[in-house]
Symmetry: D2
Subunit: 349 residues, 4 copies
């Protein structure tokens, strides 16, 4: 695992900036002879694509995936699979006004501290656009996991302080893809109000992974939950993650929190499917905290490259809430994590 590569076995390297000529991904370590379902991969990308609803940015990228290598007669060959998405709608001129200004809540300041220079036309590698490459790889991972019966789904559990109680019931419904639709109207009103106020919203995404065999993950460093945390925390706006009962577990007694067993298996799943870093065969459940989108049209204080204080109102096409489009990104990173752990375990492959 390093700067731009995820995974030890199914190694996913992404490349490309939001305003370069293309973004893309190379997958090394994909088993040979896997059926390559390009329409499914494209459909996953479409879930992430901007421009579809009122709650997403208006940037209109087609996000058409193009396969350069590693696939022959619709099957993977075992060699690196390279896929690219050309950037067709960059509109660089939108960004010139913020060329030397650090947007609050963005990586502009830290990026420049790290590299000493910055492609000011957009967020560079920090752009959410980079996640399209992860989704392409994640979609392929999902296809392989499906052959093991493993299924991954994510939905919105809360938006700002609107927490949706109750079951997690797929398939989730447009346009919000909440865990269940009981509070959709309330949330849609909040979104409309927030747009009017030139502000933005965050929330919590919940993800379930079904039918994972017991025995994946390691007892020391490559714990299944550690790998998933690394994967999910590597998504731009995520500020926290918890498994099973998570932070609530700290408020229970051991006798309440331990998952007892009888001849039919576990009697509860407070652990969220992982014990001592190794999957226990129960559903893996985690929640991720997404901060409100940092790009807002409201005026904010910041500084420019020379340290001078300036005011900024971020124009352009930005999401008031990123959660809906982030669902497939969460699922993709979860898929890449689980597949990588599965391929590590020689018993199953």
């Amino acid at each position: 695992m390093n700067a731009n590569t995820f995974g030890n076995n199914f190694r996913v390297t992404t490349f490309g900036e939001s305003h370069g000529s293309a973004i893309g991904v190379v997958i090394d370590g994909c088993p040979s002879n896997v059926e390559f379902d390009l329409p499914f991969i494209q459909s996953e990308l479409d879930r992430r694509r901007p421009g579809s609803t009122r709650i997403g940015t208006k940037r209109n990228e087609e996000d058409k995936i193009k396969v350069l290598s590693g696939v022959f007669e619709n099957r993977t060959t075992g060699t690196p699979i390279a896929m690219i998405i050309e950037n067709t709608d960059q509109k660089s001129h939108d960004y010139s006004s913020i060329k030397d200004i650090y947007r609050p809540g963005h990586a502009d300041f830290t990026y420049e501290k790290k590299y000493g220079l910055r492609d000011y036309r957009g967020g560079g590698r920090s752009s959410g656009r980079e996640t399209a490459a992860r989704v392409a790889a994640g979609a392929l991972a999902k296809l392989i996991l499906k052959s093991y019966g493993i299924e991954i789904s994510a939905a919105i559990r809360s938006v700002k302080d609107i927490y949706i109680e109750g079951d997690f019931i797929p398939p989730f419904k447009a346009p919000l893809y909440t865990v269940n639709s009981t509070k959709d109207n309330e949330i849609l009103s909040l979104i409309d109000k927030t747009i009017q106020e030139k502000d933005s919203l965050g929330g919590v995404i919940e993800c379930h992974i079904k039918n994972v065999m017991p025995g994946l993950g390691d007892p020391v460093f490559n714990k299944a939950d550690a790998v998933l945390s690394y994967a999910i925390m590597s998504i731009g706006a995520v500020k926290g993650i918890e498994f099973g009962k998570g932070f609530e577990a700290t408020k229970l007694y051991g006798s309440q929190n331990n998952d007892e067993m009888d001849e039919n298996g576990f009697l509860s799943n407070n652990a969220g499917g992982i014990l001592g870093g190794i999957t226990n065969g129960e559903e893996i459940i985690f929640k991720a905290a997404f901060k409100p989108t940092p790009s807002i049209a409201k005026e904010q204080k910041t500084i420019d490259k020379n340290g001078n204080p300036v005011k900024i109102e971020i124009k352009g096409r930005h999401d008031p809430i990123i959660l809906v489009r982030a669902l497939v990104v969460v699922e993709s990173m979860a898929a890449l994590s689980i597949l990588d752990l599965l391929l590590e375990n020689k018993k199953y492959v």
Copy 2:
């Protein structure tokens, strides 16, 4: 990063089981010519050592560190540093009654699913004892970080539902090492009551990292917060982690959560010192959720190796609350993370 090795640059490989002849660590990638302060390393191990207070297990290990290589005339040589701690107080016979039984909340079940066999005398690599090796490595990392002015400290923010409001004020006081002592008596009473009830407690540990230079971490996968999450989630009992405002940030508007700047720098630190995965020069702040210790003397339902339901009361020496001894483990994993990111950034080394 893999099963038993942490880090890309300061590579820490731990080995050893709780009931083998020794546990240990090999550190590869330590710069040469670093002053090797063995008494400090030993003092860090002593913070983790069992048997010192009423709130810790009575297992009495001396945990004396022994250096096998990589140090010459009190300086590191740039070659692998191997350190071991001999296991002197294993008392294997304590465990024979649970040889074929899966302890609830433990890795026994998953461990056996993974490996097909298990050293039934203890938790094997899943034992908390393995973290002593991490503390030895983390202490060395702290020494190196200190030469850059970087300081790391962790304290208890909550125990069960007792949340300690207010500032995080080091140095923290024995015996609880809470963020401040306002609720120590209340917590100590809770611990006594819990021991009597043969139960256990969890809580939240907060960690601050001071004086980290901006520019550490990567914009895509090796985000500073992703690496720290991986590191902290790899500690046995941790079920969640959050940075800065964390899950609370999801309840704010973007205009509230963004950290604005002026000529004096950041006006707030909701981000917890990391923006877009890269350190911004502010204090890094995170919280980790520790579940209640799974080993309890209270009767619990479980199964044996053959799937038969059994009742279990875990005898032996176990902590009613692991938080105090876990503080140095949290600090150590944070130190290993930050040092690894620092060594990646050629500008500073």
Copy 3:
């Protein structure tokens, strides 16, 4: 280091098959702010390009490099640099006659044993065409090394049993790029004769690396010569490598082979610039053995996929001798090796 990635610091991942839509490379770990000299990179690719002389294949690829990411305003940004070369002259139909036949001396048989399927239109990843991606990366590595004064050059030392005595004198001359031109006519005659006989030739390439600072490489596994051996042996037709005196050193006494020193430095360079795996500041010198090109028009015995014996005459466009085009590949792999070792050594970067 793994299947398709070379290097720990300057990590080069290649992708693409000879008959897919493109081959390419992603470079992760390139320092930011390096001047990106695209014409130089293209000129290096042109050295490897087929179709230029009578001694090369007639396949006429333009091998035009296209940069997808990681470069902004002609400087590297520190993010992954993706470059691709589209395959414009695949002529798949040339290969249909050998679809189910294993070409002697080729990877066809082993490739199918490994993957269970094979892109029969060419050598897939085993094709020499894959090396174009390495040359693109190697050219960038050379540019960075040049800023440290390091220069790499390779030339032909022998062809079949024609060994060219004497000095290694760059710049080397077209069309053969031998270490010196004393035997060019003899070699050109041999090549003509070999083409008429529908056969092929091998030989030895010698490579010199100048101005490498002392201290690169490691004393145990990542020895500078071990890394270079791995790199050079990963070129398709290479069957051996030796450093300095190499196999001849085995015939000397220790007192003859040791490089003595006086106040002016080393008195000889039998070691070839590397002592105990670490560079000593002298010129690094190695020789690589290239077997004769396996693709020949002469009739050979082989088998088909079903194990039936068949005769094969390989039609199509093939090099009677690969050495000339291989020179830039050798230099490129040497450049990637030395740069990776240099970036590992924090003292110099």
Copy 4:
């Protein structure tokens, strides 16, 4: 692969200096449930141990292996296996006279250039003693390979200019372990004469690996021969390696060198068992060039730390020829390479 770790799957990390308190190895990635044959491991170490014959150094180390972790009831547990060998016969005072002097042909000069300091009591990590740790790991690798029918043996093919023609016939005979005994007397005379002259000898070791299944290795970077080259070149005195016909192959026509096939398989094995980087099921054959031992009692010119020219006669216990003791090191590194490639190939594990 990095400074002190070999392998991606069966990851072997060695530590320890020749004059520290112990040397050792940690093996991560060993499958669980492998029978752990400690006497075999010890017997392999004994093959490398100094002091047994007139042709070896008189340093009398017992080299007794001690297992610290990863083995329970004589089976591997799947967790890291740590083994150490205590240094019982360091005699540091032997070396004090050369404290500030760079021994010709040794890593003293380059080591100091790299690290800026040096454990002057011996070669540090550059000492041949480090290879004992590799032999311990290699012995375990051999045990696992044996369960697949794979056998590895190495023997001496030449000493100085005495080349032993003819077959490679195991088991090889003491004291020289040549490929066959036809020239043993001649070689023993040469050794005696060389000892009298205070000089040293090199030679060529040949290694055969039997019964490797086809399909191991990768077509691009992790070629089986590239991995073996890296492994063998990482042994201190090795200056060259070749596979199958090796450098001789450069003198053949393609039609002579290609290994043709018929229904019974390959008709020759010029390739040495590897085609396009992937094993073809034939015997893997390679030769390694060992330079003459650099430590000689004869007077040599060198310099001290301050650059002043000095004369040196190396006293102490040194091998006039290292080849016999190196055989098990070559076999061990070959075993680690093949096992690592085998574990990479999910089809076989």
